[in-house]
């Protein structure tokens, strides 16, 4: 029962995707150009539609456990870009006082529990949040966010079994970004080095309902997520959502690069801007352009409004960037402050 969304809601969703995209572009520059941080990092470019579509379906009391590719999840849930960016730069003003960084960024105020960058970790921790929420009564649910590679770890299978056994209200969201991935051949982590041809058969084995959705399609993701969330709220046990997206070319190398350039929003209406090696990406995979075209097509937004919206987001991220760069670093001694309560 897809009811089309009202323009205003669509606008908000597109805006959030733009926040994430401009944010990730800024992160990449802060690493490669500003050398403002030195660690390995992972960008959410190409998956914005999944994150935003999913978060739109959640409520304020729901808990989440995310993983190494968390920037988009945290922003989609509504965290302040400036605090997130400060966190990635390891500043005191960051969401986690700079101690989490890109790999462990989490926003407890928005229901995020500890962010694990150990592949498979988020699945296992999400079970715990679901267990706690179940114990408390009410209808809040837990969401475990992870990638296709997580299904290579044994703990993922153990956790699916536990979730099914204890009928935990947990929504497993597997963002399969390996479609068209070159895996190790491309120098990237060989994600989905699996003999399982269709990942949905894994949750099925444990009797967990599962559906696959095109992760590029924000509204489709949201519709499926709404169904899944309702299932968990009704305490019918866990649900597994499999969102498939193309692996963004920029994440093929081990260290992300803006291979496809900074987003040129005018590509949403001006085909002439599109050409070259990444043509297919701009036309068929970039979820921001896809959704922008949809909204232009339906008349929910005009080119000028879109340009304006994008400029607003650029400015917002530019401010966040300044905020982060000017934020103080933690004091050395504070390294021992949060080891114990």
């Amino acid at each position: 029962m897809t009811q089309t969304w009202e323009a205003e809601r669509r606008g908000r969703a597109l805006e959030r995707m733009l926040t994430i995209r401009r944010f990730e572009e800024a992160v990449d520059k802060l690493f490669h150009e500003d050398h403002a941080f030195m660690t390995h990092f992972h960008l959410y470019i190409g998956q914005e539609s999944t994150g935003v579509g999913l978060m739109e379906a959640l409520g304020p009391d729901d808990k989440l456990a995310t993983h190494h590719r968390n920037h988009g999840h945290i922003l989609a849930r509504g965290s302040e870009p400036k605090k997130a960016l400060a966190e990635i730069l390891g500043r005191e003003t960051g969401l986690n006082k700079g101690a989490g960084g890109t790999l462990h960024m989490s926003d407890p105020d928005l229901g995020f529990i500890s962010t694990s960058s150990i592949v498979g970790g988020s699945i296992s921790l999400a079970n715990g949040a679901a267990f706690a929420l179940n114990q408390e009564g009410g209808d809040a649910i837990a969401v475990g966010l992870f990638g296709d590679g997580a299904l290579e770890e044994g703990i993922a299978y153990e956790s699916l079994n536990l979730a099914a056994l204890y009928e935990l209200p947990v929504l497993f969201v597997c963002e399969n970004n390996s479609a068209g991935a070159l895996g190790s051949a491309g120098g990237g982590f060989p994600t989905s080095v699996s003999a399982v041809k269709d990942l949905t058969t894994i949750p099925e084995t444990f009797g967990i309902p599962v559906e696959t959705v095109d992760g590029r399609d924000l509204e489709a993701v949201n519709e499926l997520a709404a169904t899944a969330v309702a299932h968990c709220r009704a305490r019918k046990g866990p649900y597994f959502l499999h969102a498939v997206t193309e692996r963004w070319a920029g994440s093929q190398p081990l260290w992300p690069e803006l291979t496809t350039g900074e987003l040129d929003i005018s590509m949403a209406w001006d085909e002439s801007k599109i050409s070259g090696e990444h043509e297919d990406w701009y036309l068929n995979h970039d979820p921001v352009l896809i959704y922008a075209r949809k909204l232009l097509g339906s008349g929910d937004i005009t080119e000028d409004e879109l340009t304006e919206m994008d400029e607003r987001e650029k400015a917002r991220i530019a401010e966040a960037r300044e905020f982060a760069l000017e934020s103080p670093r933690p004091t050395p001694e504070s390294a021992l402050e949060h080891v114990f309560a």
Partner: protein, 330 residues
């Protein structure tokens, strides 16, 4: 004071939190071990069954599940079985539980209590005899208790469950039946307070877990020879009560550390290193580590006994270092 064994002491504590805290949950199989004391679990199970989980053989995932619930401020008690069975769960312990508070900037705590059965089993072999105090003490962010008897089980387990930090409580797999006078009602033993179980002036024996009883036996024997040993029960490794150890060594000038874990990078090494750093001048003789030799445990009592720390080894170590010429006079 009523006499109780470890098992009863544990049930005292678990029942108390079951009654106090509707969110308190106990998970694990053979929580009271696979010996006869296991039967004592039944009445507890009958009463609190809906909050007791017998998870599948999935140590990594149920440890993480307990941790995830604890990250939502639920106090969780997870029994992981024998120490060897905790190895599949070490990523959940080392990567998730020990780091969450720091990585979140102090915003996320993990008040989970992990209960582990450790120790030599009289022939249990290489995969059922581990005492990995050293491995866990090498991790940050986790409090570690090693009760020496039923009284300590009650007092330390209570403090562990109340703690806002993740805690690991290691009890001896052969200890469930060991009895002691255990106070009724609310009884806590604060963390970070070692207990001088026997006073003496000739040599200090710092003991971990059940080695405390072994050390007391050795002390009796030594007393017969006029060697008056002081026995210090560590009680908790994290936090460590350095002062009580240093005071004792200042008095005796001699240190023996007794631990059932392996020698290298174990409890004995840590205590010896701490003293050599902070009280070298008090030492009149070399430190002696009486710990498990660095070998996998062969599944027979003869070879197991050879590598195990025992009263005899403590006695001869004491004789030797008491006989030593003080370093100062060397």
């Amino acid at each position: 004071m009523p006499t109780k064994n470890y098992a009863d002491a544990m049930l005292d504590v678990l029942s108390r939190f079951m009654d106090e805290d509707p969110n308190f949950v106990v998970m694990g199989n053979e929580v009271l071990g696979i010996g006869p004391e296991g039967a004592q679990f039944e009445p507890f199970q009958k009463k609190y069954g809906d909050r007791i989980l017998f998870p599948p053989c999935s140590e990594a995932a149920y440890t993480a599940m307990a941790a995830g619930a604890a990250m939502c401020d639920h106090r969780m008690f997870a029994h992981l079985g024998l120490a060897s069975f905790t190895y599949p769960a070490i990523s959940s312990i080392a990567n998730e539980i020990s780091t969450a508070r720091t990585s979140s900037g102090g915003t996320i705590g993990v008040p989970v209590t992990l209960h582990i059965s450790h120790g030599l089993l009289h022939g249990g072999g290489a995969q059922h005899s581990e005492s990995p105090f050293g491995m866990y003490w090498n991790l940050p962010g986790i409090e570690i208790a090693a009760p020496s008897g039923a009284k300590e089980v009650k007092g330390l387990l209570t403090t562990a469950i109340k703690s806002d930090n993740p805690t690991i409580v290691l009890t001896h797999a052969f200890g469930y039946g060991a009895e002691d006078d255990v106070p009724d009602g609310d009884f806590e033993i604060p963390f970070g307070q070692a207990d001088v179980k026997r006073e003496g002036d000739a040599v200090t024996i710092v003991a971990c877990s059940m080695m405390t009883a072994v050390a007391l036996g050795a002390a009796d024997e030594l007393a017969g020879e006029g060697i008056n040993a002081e026995v210090v029960d560590l009680r908790t490794l994290v936090p460590l009560d350095e002062q009580t150890i240093l005071d004792s060594v200042a008095k005796t000038g001699r240190l023996i550390v007794a631990d059932e874990g392996r020698m290298h990078c174990g409890v004995a090494s840590e205590i010896a290193a701490m003293v050599s750093e902070k009280a070298l001048d008090s030492l009149k003789a070399p430190v002696a580590r009486v710990a498990r030799m660095d070998a996998p445990v062969a599944a027979n009592q003869v070879q197991e006994g050879y590598i195990a720390p025992d009263a005899e080894k403590l006695v001869s170590a004491a004789r030797q270092i008491v006989g030593e010429v003080p370093a100062a006079a060397a």
